[in-house]
């Protein structure tokens, strides 16, 4: 297969775009398309200070690389979850994130959950009702809280995450299956700021996951290849697999599913009303917005964890 731009041997064929590109032209195409998404969805400008949430994976490190190449002012945030999984998962992903930042002379802020909240994610999850079986729910809650706090404290105008189209299509699929109207109303490339909540953007939302992996490989970005040990059996992975089966038979199915949703959303097909509308107020303990009465879920959950830890160790909660 030949590159459509130069006729050299292609490195990747993107059937949904009927486009095959060689290494050189693919590495140029990805930042061009990212820039188009940034402009199309009015994500940010070159005057903005951007905080990129990096996990050490292919998507977030590629996003940071692309923003840096495009000349945006982007710092990184790595949250050390303290997950080992038998192969030092967090340790290795942190090392790769730090090495990436150092190689490009970029600023990376590292937050350790154990240091900030009192315990690593697996230990804390084992002490909670919601995380006893699997720590993913507590992990997501903690990451969202810490990311928002870091963006606010650092004075960043926007928080950027490496969600790709497969992530978005899988979330959309799940939200549609359950007709979670509130989530559907809020799902999009940009989540506008609300009092106490940073603006969130997803500049890679139009790229297939396969394209982002190809970008990382061709660019020579060292990323964590091992999956999070707790991801096995995750519903998101199951939805991604289903959507990829569909894509194999109908190239472009994932893309049209997601883009069709965004068009429908523009016409306010999904709007927050009634019980789906999020009414937020500041948490009396941490000040971050919450829809729950009283303290936010983060404060309530971690208070219980620290209390139980104190009970176990005999120390003060």
């Amino acid at each position: 297969m030949k590159c459509r731009k130069c006729g050299e041997k292609a490195s990747l064929n993107m059937r949904q775009h009927k486009l095959a590109l060689c290494k050189e032209h693919f590495l140029a195409w990805v930042p061009e398309q990212t820039e188009r998404s940034i402009q199309r969805y009015r994500m940010f400008s070159r005057d903005d200070r951007i905080l990129v949430a990096v996990s050490g994976g292919k998507d977030s490190l590629s996003l940071w690389d692309i923003l840096w190449r495009l000349g945006y002012k982007a710092d990184g945030l790595y949250i050390d979850l303290g997950i080992d999984g038998g192969h030092g998962y967090s340790q290795e992903s942190r090392r790769l994130s730090e090495a990436f930042a150092a190689s490009r002379d970029l600023h990376l802020r590292v937050i350790s959950v154990e240091h900030e909240a009192g315990a690593a994610i697996p230990e804390a999850a084992a002490l909670t009702q919601r995380g006893r079986e699997k720590p993913c729910s507590l992990c997501g809650l903690t990451k969202r809280h810490l990311m928002n706090r870091a963006a606010q404290e650092g004075g960043y105008s926007v928080l950027a995450t490496g969600h790709n189209l497969d992530d978005e299509a899988a979330a959309l699929f799940g939200n549609t299956l359950g007709w979670r109207v509130g989530y559907l109303a809020r799902q999009g490339p940009v989540l506008e700021a609300r009092p106490g909540l940073a603006r969130k953007v997803k500049p890679l939302c139009r790229f297939y996951e396969r394209e982002m992996a190809a970008y990382a490989l061709l660019r020579g970005i060292a990323y964590i290849y091992e999956e999070c040990p707790y991801a096995e059996g995750a519903t998101t992975l199951y939805y991604k697999e289903l959507l990829n089966r569909l894509e194999a038979d109908r190239p472009g199915a994932k893309l049209s599913f997601y883009l069709g949703f965004l068009r429908a959303r523009e016409h306010m097909t999904f709007h927050e009303d009634g019980k789906d509308k999020l009414e937020l107020h500041p948490c009396p303990r941490c000040g971050q917005p919450t829809s729950a009465p009283g303290e936010c879920a983060y404060c309530r959950t971690w208070s219980k964890v620290r209390l139980r830890l104190g009970t176990i160790t005999g120390g003060e909660a």
Binding site: M1, A10, S11, L12, N13, A20, K23, G57, K58, D59, C136, D166, D167, A170, Y208, E209, R210, M212, A213, A214, L217, L218, Y225, E227, C228, Y230, A231, A234, T236, L237, K240, E241, N244, R245, E247, A248
Partner: protein, 64 residues
């Protein structure tokens, strides 16, 4: 000499002369979920596998 294909810790063998697309179909691997590489270079699905090829499939799906 067969073609060796590796995906994470799984190893497969297919005969030379078929395309990457056919090999993936035979092994029941979703083409969207992997990137095929040969000697560190990315190859497309129409590439014909040669005697003694060592193909590494890079898994691309992540997230929980």
């Amino acid at each position: 000499m067969p073609v060796r294909i590796r995906l994470r810790n799984k190893h497969y063998e297919v005969r030379a002369g078929m395309t990457v697309r056919d090999a993936l179909r035979k092994l029941e691997i979703q083409p969207e979920s992997v990137i095929p590489t040969r000697e560190g270079e990315l190859i497309t699905e129409d590439e014909i596998l040669r005697e003694g090829d060592e193909i590494r499939l890079v898994a691309v799906i992540s997230g929980g």
